[in-house]
Subunit: 197 residues, 2 copies
DNA sequence: TAGGCAAGCAAGTGGTTACTTGCATGCCGC
DNA sequence: GCGGCATGCAAGTAACCACTTGCTTGCCTA
């Protein structure tokens, strides 16, 4: 790992702890085990470094996929949502910072939006396939349904360390229960499917 | 409004914009139209002022209620959730800051938790009354269901200015659709109720 | 082996921050 | 009318910040 990568990693970590105001060039350089001057020689300014670090994160975001042909919606959605939830949870501190700094640095929130856009697309496609196949139905709009599921996962992953008493202790268990509720909401449960036509 | 209240209001506003690191005593005093020294004479330190301001907010939180006897769940839940959503939305900047500073200042997040605890209690009570009356049912736990509904509202209210394309343009309309989906999820829709036993 | 380049190091600059001190001013109750 | 009390004002302090400069060191390549 060369100096540039070390700085980017250190910047991400320090930024996660204190946001862009709390992330001092001294601490970043220290954590990267690099001279502070080297930081400026590479990136020019603190803001440029943080921006590069967030960009690096956006590039490396892994694209979760949902099967083209839904076969077992409960299992498939649960696995997908668990992975997404884990992704948010692992970066919860950083995500909170980017959202808090939305007014001052909209690019940060743009990164978050970019990363989750693929998740949303995947979910919407899957849902519409379910509905087209007659395996889900009712009077709901796809965008609203995905907003509900993704919002639930987001709030859980971002809030469960602030308010642990409010969420099921096991994240995996919680996600499974959310998916169960969600499937009923969109009429994709065997029983509810029967009545939705 | 005396000097103390002016300072508290100004502190809340400046804190909403920049968090505790971005909130300088100079800007707070300026906005309160008060000398900066007066700020320190009243509160001793910046942190004490911010803490007092958040405490003031927690005290004045209005307690939303759901009817003791559910009669029209869709209408009642929609009204309740709209009010809650509006409350989050109006304070979204401040809420984002307190959550971002959770690691450094857990008291801030504690205030948010305290304020929403009443909402959760109300919702859980209402849901259990619905279920006891046989007007909702299925294999879900109350805590999970409320986490889902509140999480959806939270994510929408906090995220719709960062990612406007992801949410229905009208907040009231969005909440109505969330409630509709939620009622189906907990088996409180006429049709789905029939099959839940 | 010579030259260039990346990095370290020490020191400094100008700006901002929270907080303090000392003193002047005006208002309100007695 | 007078004493106390809340506030304003000017100035200062010590710390921290992003960022710069000038110089040295060591490694790789030609």
């Amino acid at each position: 790992m060369d100096v540039r990568d070390q700085l980017i990693h250190a910047a991400l970590q320090v930024y996660s702890q204190g946001g862009s105001r709390g992330a001092t060039t001294r601490r970043i350089a220290e954590l990267a085990a690099v001279n502070e001057v080297t930081l400026f020689r590479h990136f020019g300014s603190k803001d440029a470094l943080i921006s590069a670090a967030l960009g690096w994160l956006a590039e490396r975001a892994l694209a979760l996929r949902l099967p083209e042909q839904p076969s077992n919606p409960r299992a498939e959605l649960t696995a997908f949502c668990r992975a997404h939830h884990r992704g948010i949870y692992e970066n919860r501190a950083l995500i909170r910072k980017t959202m808090a700094e939305f007014e001052e640095h909209p690019e940060g929130a743009a990164v978050a939006r970019e990363i989750t856009a693929g998740i949303e697309r995947e979910l919407q496609g899957y849902l519409s396939r379910l509905r087209r196949a007659g395996r889900a139905g009712g009077r709901w709009r796809i965008g609203t349904a995905t907003a509900m599921l993704m919002g639930t996962l987001f709030a859980d992953a971002v809030g469960r360390d602030c308010m642990p008493e409010r969420y099921p202790a096991s994240a995996d268990q919680a996600v499974a229960e959310y998916v169960e509720l969600f499937l009923r909401a969109v009429g994709a449960t065997p029983a509810s499917r029967a009545i939705s036509r």
